[in-house]
């Protein structure tokens, strides 16, 4: 178990390292950078290329550490990252961590809410579908599941916004009402309640495809399990149907779901980028988009790296959960 864990963690770190190089290179790929734009706004178009303009550019580049070749920039940045400093966002002129941290928190909150919702919806439906398989209810649930998988979530977001706007006269976007928005508002009870009141819409939007997937997996697993001899024996011996289903087959069928949920977490975090743009959520998604378009190098690479870190962490947690939940796998590993 310990060896397995160490291997997973080392491997995760290696993955993150590769990711950091790739993302850094990709983000520096477009011609020009933030400093070019910045200098142009400072000295005007006519000033670019004049000795004075060049001097200003030089100073700014040195200040932000953008005056060296890409690999040197990367090396310096990486040395800082290892010590927990993600560099400075040139666009906000503040440390990246400071800009990102509370948005990161909200991103995680949205993802966790989505997973909770997914579980509460998908598992009972999956069980129901499996127990009543090939009934009309099962078929319609399967179809709904397919629909949930097919509709891109940003379209779903748009649709919900439209419905909210038209029929309920209710603005769907955002995570807070105006008085609680902004990073400086302290986390009071009122803010939490306000967040909960807004949270359900992104959770539904983001959770639909995951719910559909889990329903299908739960149904398939449980169907496999229900046809096994031990269930037949349990029934033959007169065990109550509820117990015959819920006590053993459901437990076994839940194992893969458990590991899937930890795996879904990073997918949700990445997936929320697009939905956040549509719904105007104060998460890291829109921030990343903005940083990319402004060529805010350290900001964009840091966000990609942080999301990558969460992905790797999620995968490791899901592996561990699976080992804990399923004694059979534990036995094999020993």
């Amino acid at each position: 178990m310990l060896g397995f864990l160490t291997r997973r963690v080392l491997y995760g770190i290696f993955t993150l390292w590769v990711l950091s190089i790739v993302s850094f290179l990709v983000i520096t790929l477009p011609p020009g950078d933030f400093v070019d734009m910045y200098v142009e706004t400072l000295v005007g178009e006519a000033g670019v290329g004049t000795p004075a303009g060049d001097k200003i550019e030089e100073v700014i580049r040195a200040e932000y550490g953008l005056d060296k070749p890409v690999m040197v920039q990367y090396g310096k940045w990486m040395l800082k990252v290892v010590r927990g400093n993600f560099g400075i966002s040139v666009e906000f002129n503040r440390p990246v961590l400071e800009v990102v941290s509370d948005k990161l928190l909200l991103t995680v909150i949205v993802a966790v809410a989505t997973i909770v919702l997914t579980w509460f919806a998908a598992i009972p439906i999956g069980i129901y579908s499996a127990v009543r398989h090939h009934s009309i209810e099962d078929y319609s649930l399967t179809f709904l599941g397919f629909l949930g998988l097919a509709i891109p979530d940003f379209l779903l977001a748009l649709m919900l916004m439209w419905i909210g706007y038209f029929y309920f006269d209710f603005s769907v976007g955002g995570l807070f009402t105006r008085e609680y928005a902004g990073a400086n508002v302290p986390w009071t009870m009122g803010k939490v309640v306000d967040l909960l009141a807004h949270l359900w819409i992104p959770a539904i939007v983001l959770g639909t495809s995951g719910t559909a997937a889990i329903i299908r997996i739960m149904r398939a697993n449980l169907l496999d399990e229900l046809s096994k001899p031990y269930v037949v024996t349990a029934r033959a011996k007169g065990l109550h149907e509820w117990k015959a289903v819920m006590k053993y087959p459901v437990r076994v069928a839940l194992n893969p779901i458990l590991s899937l949920s930890a795996y879904i977490f990073p997918v949700l975090i990445s997936g929320s980028i697009i939905v956040s743009v549509v719904l105007g959520l104060p998460t890291v998604g829109p921030l990343l988009l903005r940083a990319l378009l402004a060529e805010d190098l350290f900001m964009a690479s840091s966000i990609v790296l942080m999301l990558g870190g969460m992905t790797v962490l999620g995968t490791i947690v899901s592996d561990i959960l699976l080992v804990i939940a399923d004694p059979r796998i534990r036995m094999v590993n020993q």
């Binding site: 995760g12 993955t15 590769v18 990711l19 790739v22 993302s23 990709v26 983000i27 790929l29 477009p30 011609p31 397919f146 629909l147 998988l149 097919a150 509709i151 891109p152 940003f154 379209l155 748009l158 649709m159 916004m161 439209w162 706007y165 038209f166 603005s171 769907v172 976007g173 990073p266 975090i269 990445s270 997936g271 980028i273 697009i274 743009v277 549509v278 990343l288 988009l289 990319l292 378009l293 964009a300 966000i303 990609v304 999301l307 990558g308 969460m310 992905t311 790797v312 995968t315």
Partner: protein, 384 residues
């Protein structure tokens, strides 16, 4: 009495022989025929397949199905709501009512009123703008349209118009072409990557396998959406439409090939130890021959299935990228580009018809998924 018994006996014989015939047909039928039979039994998959074919027909004959030139704009007709088609007017005569556009003096918004007196007939197979079918056959007739004469723009706007007064219906039809071919091209590319890398990894094993496996695992364990957004943002803004199209295709393919790679590798690993492969190798066949002649035919069906299921992923990804403004850009027309206009709720609230491109996206994705599901069941006809 006896005669009757004979008759039933003969009948039973006949039925039995028919049954036998059927059995024999099953026994001698080739792999592909068996798959087709199995696929046919899957009703929803058949429906999906029909939709997929219809979509590609629309993509091929887009010019013909479009009513007006999707690039032609007319600001006088901006944001016109969809016109309802009236089918009967004493007898069968499909038509739309005339529309009068004016400006609201207070909000300066364009408002349209229906003019019930004017009747614009909707005709089938009419002449319209000129185009080249398949790129080289000059034609000017269209499936639907109106006889409004040469000078006027061919009305009916079944799905309304956009900000520049371009016909939404025609634009969706043309978007179909771009979105679906991009999906196909991207999947083709990832198929190449997947079969090549997955193939050498599964066939040779050893360190090649380790390297390719790590590559696949890293690609899969990395958050793909931020990465492909970064890549797409790196595509220069001043590239031509075609260049951007190929760039986006390559970017998407880079992230989708891993699934195919895994399928191919798994199959190779399973087949590598089979007797017929060993036999072929002992008989002196070279690696490439063993792969293409002996192994590949065994899992072509699995590859096709995985490919089919990858297409909807491509379609959704392209739509999402273009929607964010990072994918294809105007003047290119794809479903995602069209949906970009419906990006905020204010626009959607006032001009709800701008969300129509979401309908073909959803239907296409569903159709591909249903078809792929049926194909997965049919891919191994010898099971059971």
């Amino acid at each position: 009495m006896e005669e009757k018994q004979d008759l039933t006996a003969a009948q039973e014989d006949l039925e039995a022989s028919e049954l036998f015939l059927e059995d024999e047909e099953v026994l001698v039928a080739g792999q592909w025929r068996l798959m087709w039979w199995r696929f046919k039994k899957h009703r929803i998959a058949m429906v999906g397949a029909i939709f997929v074919i219809a979509f590609y027909l629309v993509a091929i004959f887009a010019d013909m199905i479009a009513i007006s030139d999707p690039r032609e704009s007319d600001v006088q007709q901006a944001y016109m709501p969809p016109q309802t088609v009236h089918w009967f007017d004493g007898g069968f005569s499909p038509h739309v009512k005339g529309v009068i556009g004016s400006r609201d003096p207070e909000s300066y918004k364009k408002v349209y009123a229906i003019d019930s007196d004017v009747k614009i007939p909707v005709r089938f197979f009419v002449r319209g703008y000129e185009y080249h079918l398949f790129g080289f056959i000059p034609l000017d007739w269209h499936l639907i349209g109106t006889d409004t004469g040469e000078n006027e723009r061919a009305a009916p706007y079944f799905l309304g118009t956009d900000i520049l007064g371009r016909d939404q219906w025609s634009r969706i039809i043309f978007g179909t072409r771009v979105s679906l071919t991009l999906g196909l091209a991207g999947v083709g590319l990832s198929l190449f990557l997947g079969v090549f890398l997955g193939g050498i990894s599964g066939y040779y094993g050893g360190w090649v396998d380790t390297v390719v496996q790590r590559l696949i695992e890293i690609t899969r364990s990395v958050p793909t959406i931020p990465l492909w957004i970064s890549l797409a943002a790196a595509v220069p803004r001043d590239w031509s439409v075609t260049k951007i199209y190929f760039a986006i295709t390559i970017i998407l393919a880079l992230f989708i090939w891993t699934d195919l790679g895994r399928v191919v590798r798994g199959r190779f690993l399973a087949l590598r130890e089979e007797d017929f492969v060993t036999a072929a190798r002992l008989a002196g066949a070279r690696d490439l021959r063993v792969i293409y002649r002996h192994m590949l035919p065994n899992f072509v069906s699995h590859i096709i299935t995985a490919t089919t299921l990858a297409i909807p992923v491509m379609i959704i990804s392209e739509t999402a990228l273009s929607f964010l403004g990072l994918g294809l850009r105007a003047p290119a027309v794809s479903w995602g580009v069209l949906l970009q206009e419906a990006q905020n709720v204010q626009t959607v609230a006032v001009y709800p018809w701008l969300t129509f491109p979401a309908v073909p996206v959803t239907i296409a994705v569903l159709a591909f998924n249903f078809m792929g599901d049926g194909m997965r069941d049919a891919a191994d006809p010898y099971a059971n």
